[in-house]
């Protein structure tokens, strides 16, 4: 079972990992965007932790909707609304008590919300290229009946591999798409940060 504390810990760990990787994310964004992805996500997660401490949400769903709404309200850019929608939709869908199957279902709903808002699909060189493989890995884990820890490990690995698949792609969405063929050869910063989020969740699940 996955409790509210686990989801709060998820955002704490994500904030730590994003901070550790802030320069790398910004460097990736400088290559094909405008060099602010690391800064923006770092700033957003700092606000999320503040908001979670203040409002002390009780259920996993509330933790996620609080985090999502905060990201939408505080971050700006494209990543604010996109990550915000991911967590808010996940939170709205997630029923307690949270089982792996329920989490996988809510995660998929969140990813669909991102796809819809950003009008992006697999292969556009966006965060979706990391999120969809993670979602599929969760669904497979549910089908195979593996435990939560292993399932989240598999999701994190799938997201990391998904992020790497963006390197040879030509961007079709967002600012990177302005570069045309010059976007080829660079990892998408949104996919990279999505992989960090999944790694953070795997790290706090015990």
């Amino acid at each position: 079972m996955m409790e509210a504390e686990l989801f709060v810990a998820w955002f704490e760990e994500a904030a730590r990992q994003v901070r550790d990787n802030r320069d790398r994310l910004t460097r990736l964004d400088a290559a094909i965007g405008d060099a602010d992805h690391g800064t923006n996500i770092d700033r957003g997660l700092t606000e999320v932790l503040k908001e979670l401490a203040e409002s002390a949400p009780r259920s996993p769903g509330e933790v996620l909707t609080t985090a999502g709404a905060t990201l939408i309200r505080r971050v700006g850019g494209a990543s604010g609304p996109l990550y915000g929608s991911l967590f808010r939709q996940m939170g709205k869908t997630l029923e307690s008590p949270v089982t792996l199957a329920r989490f996988a279902g809510a995660f998929e709903e969140g990813v669909v919300a991102v796809e819809r808002l950003g009008k992006a699909t697999m292969g556009d060189k966006t965060m979706v290229d990391a999120l969809i493989p993670a979602s599929r890995a969760l669904a497979l884990a549910v089908r195979d009946g593996v435990d939560v820890r292993r399932a989240l490990d598999q999701a994190a690995r799938a997201a990391a591999e998904g992020a790497k698949t963006t390197i040879p792609l030509q961007a079709r969405k967002g600012r990177a798409s302005y570069l045309g063929e010059r976007s080829i050869g660079h990892e998408d910063p949104g996919a990279a940060s999505a992989a960090l989020f999944m790694a953070a969740l795997a790290a706090v699940a015990t």
Binding site: D34, G80, R172, Y178
Partner: protein, 326 residues
């Protein structure tokens, strides 16, 4: 790189405090810049916004004849829906509000969310996408909004002052965008306060063609050539997309780090190009209006005028960034 800042985190806040202190005609509250006098009953309100670092766009264009409010985001980061909602409510004089949105994924998402969430105000929106350097296709996010944003804000602003209804102001704003094209060239990158080093490395010998306004790399990198040749590249790209005929409004815009003298060197070449195509520079603007921090370079924006658009361009305007006829 040295920057005149206190801290990278506070740069937007500190600059807004400076704007408020310098311009009593503005009121700054919760990261929104309003006209100090508040909304005028019956007038359509104009709200724009976007990342900071493009000054005077947008906050410098708040005032009579242009915007009613501007929402500045963090440096090169679009504003958040809360700002846009507050601005929209704050400028509504009962005739509705026009959102002027530059076509960037972040700007579009945040303005869309705000338009959906705001209650009790009729909202229309216009998307500015004038940059011919980006192919408008399914395989890109579509053309960027750059210099034409100023034209849209000026002309739609003049029409709104005349008391035109929201649908008409929105239609004219869209028409200005359709009649306008831009192309930008960078001689150097720029440095965001948070990053502290240039967004991309551009050797002394090269220029970037087809840049936007966020220090992002352009479509191609070529060896540096004369102002005449660079102006030619920009004008050929514009002319190839929207043939230059009749009376034109032409802006040669500095990206923030190019001396006015050099912008006039470019303007002379642009004017010669226009003449060579049998068109006429009817109105012009030369200076730093839609900038990318301290980037060196320029953009050219051309709008095909008609009598009505010319009149709205000439109409009085009184803002920190643009002021005439009043």
């Amino acid at each position: 790189m040295k920057k005149l800042i206190n801290t990278a985190d506070s740069v937007v806040e500190d600059a807004l405090n400076g704007m408020a202190a310098a311009h009593p005609s503005l009121r700054v509250r919760d990261r929104v810049v309003y006209r100090a006098e508040g909304p005028r009953p019956g007038k359509v309100g104009l709200v724009s916004g976007g990342g900071s670092g493009h000054e005077p766009l947008h906050a410098g264009f708040v005032g009579h004849g242009m915007l009613d409010a501007a929402c500045p985001g963090e440096v090169f980061t679009s504003p958040v829906p809360d700002q846009i909602i507050e601005a929209t409510k704050g400028v509504d004089g009962g005739a509705g509000v026009l959102h002027i949105v530059k076509n960037y994924t972040g700007d579009v998402l945040n303005f869309e969310m705000a338009a959906e969430l705001v209650e009790g105000v009729e909202v229309a929106s216009v998307l500015v996408d004038d940059d011919v350097a980006v192919q408008d296709s399914l395989y890109t996010a579509g053309r960027r909004g750059t210099g034409a944003t100023l034209f849209v804000e000026k002309m739609a602003g003049a029409l709104a002052e005349e008391g035109a209804p929201l649908a008409r102001v929105a239609a004219v704003a869209a028409e200005v965008d359709e009649r306008s094209r831009s192309f930008g060239i960078a001689l150097s990158s720029c440095t965001t306060p948070a990053a502290g080093k240039p967004t991309f490395d551009l050797p002394e010998t090269d220029v970037e063609l087809g840049i936007g306004i966020h220090g992002e790399p352009g479509r191609a990198r070529v060896p540096m050539v004369s102002a005449r040749e660079l102006a030619g590249v920009a004008m050929e790209a514009i002319h190839g997309d929207l043939p230059l005929t009749g009376d034109l409004l032409v802006m040669v815009n500095g990206m923030g780090g190019t001396p006015l003298m050099e912008l006039y060197v470019v303007f002379a070449e642009v004017a010669a190009f226009v003449k060579g195509k049998g068109a006429r520079v009817s109105r012009s603007l030369v200076g730093n209006y839609v900038t990318s921090l301290e980037m060196q370079g320029f953009s050219v924006t051309v709008c095909r005028l008609d009598d009505a658009l010319t009149r709205w361009w000439d109409a009085p305007v009184e803002t920190p960034g643009l002021r005439w006829g009043r």
